[in-house]
């Protein structure tokens, strides 16, 4: 099933927010999303979104050796333009959710 554009946008914003709290890697991000209740998308769907975010220059990646000395792992960090995008997303979301909430409240 294809993810709707809206859901993709929301996922993007949530990933920006999670990465802004400190460097993190794919599995950890998907766990956090699940814990927050963002269960509408599969774990794997974060990767195409992360690819896009990297292409747009919002995130950077670094390879780090695991503390256990095993193979390397890819970590994500937010760039300057990623920070700005996060702010813009927060603003957009506030407007949208405000508007939607008011419409729904009127219904009741």
């Amino acid at each position: 099933m294809a993810m709707s554009q809206m859901l993709k946008g929301l996922l993007e914003g949530c990933l920006l927010a999670i990465i802004s709290k400190g460097e993190t890697y794919g599995y950890e991000m998907s766990e956090k999303l699940q814990n927050y209740g963002f269960t509408m998308v599969s774990e794997g769907s974060i990767y195409p979104v992360l690819l896009r975010m990297k292409k747009d220059g919002w995130v950077e990646t670094i390879q780090k050796t695991l503390p256990s000395g095993g193979p390397k792992r890819k970590y994500y960090i937010l760039t300057e333009s990623g920070q700005q995008e996060l702010l813009a997303f927060k603003q957009r979301w506030a407007e949208v959710s405000n508007g939607v909430n008011r419409v729904l409240e009127e219904d009741e």
Binding site: Y27, S42, E43, G44, S45, P48, V49, L51, K74
Partner: protein, 249 residues
């Protein structure tokens, strides 16, 4: 912890799909490596690859593919390498026979055939990587069609060459020697570039026996048969050793 076979297969298919879609090899390795890391952790938590991707492997692969750019530079490099190698093989073969004449049809046709084959091969591998595992028969059919394509096109070129006369270029013994050295250098560069021995072993198995037998007084048919035998046995030994080494790694 080892990755399950199902996840391993998925990652292999994904990498074939992305490479044959013309994505950069480094980027493909990068995303496959990242998903492998994810799947390892997910499997330890009792989830499997279907849970992780949450859709059919086909649509997930396409979804990833859409976010990756087509690697034009890498694509051109591969095409150049294939065409140069094709000419290297032809030149070495002609050098041993001591005759080197190329018609215009051949000089234009060989690169075209190589290009056609590369495009067909990438399309075929792309199609097979997103097929379900039940399509065995269709896969065998695809492989067979793919294998006959270059044979048919070379045959077509030969026929064209006989019926249509085009200007030819003939190289004397000095020119032949220069081209021969260039051809060997091309093979060496490709071997270093691809980090495999195969592009040196095949020409050696193909041409050294041919050359050695051509110096004997054996009839031509026997020369061909013995050369072919050495080629096939040599290839079999090479793949056995290679498969064993891969298993150990």
């Amino acid at each position: 912890m080892e990755l399950s076979k199902k996840s391993r297969d998925f990652l292999d298919d994904l990498s074939v799909y992305l490479i044959s879609s013309g994505k950069s090899e480094t980027e493909v390795k990068d995303i496959v490596f990242e998903l492998e890391d994810h799947l390892l952790e997910a499997e330890q938590a009792g989830k499997d690859v279907d849970d992780v991707i949450g859709q059919s492997p086909k649509s997930y692969m396409q979804y990833i593919g859409r976010e990756m750019a087509f690697d034009k530079k890498g694509f051109m490099k591969i095409i150049a390498m294939i065409i140069l190698n094709l000419f290297a093989y032809i030149i070495i073969g002609n050098f041993i026979q001591g005759e080197m004449t190329f018609s215009t049809i051949q000089m234009v046709g060989f690169p075209l055939v190589a290009l056609l084959f590369l495009l067909a091969a990438s399309q075929a591998f792309r199609a097979m990587s997103i097929r379900t595992k039940e399509s065995k028969f269709r896969n065998i059919l695809t492989y067979s069609l793919l294998a006959t394509l270059p044979m048919l096109s070379f045959l077509g070129l030969m026929v064209l060459d006989i019926f249509i006369e085009t200007p030819t270029v003939t190289f004397g013994s000095n020119g032949q020697l220069v081209l021969f050295i260039v051809a060997v250098i091309i093979l060496l560069i490709t071997s270093v570039w691809t980090k495999t021995w195969i592009n040196l072993i095949i020409p050696i198995l193909l041409y050294v026996p041919q050359y050695a037998f051509s110096r004997t007084s054996l009839p031509f048919e026997q020369q061909s048969i013995f050369s072919m035998l050495i080629l096939f046995i040599g290839m079999a030994i090479f793949f056995l050793v290679w498969a064993k080494k891969n298993k150990e790694d």
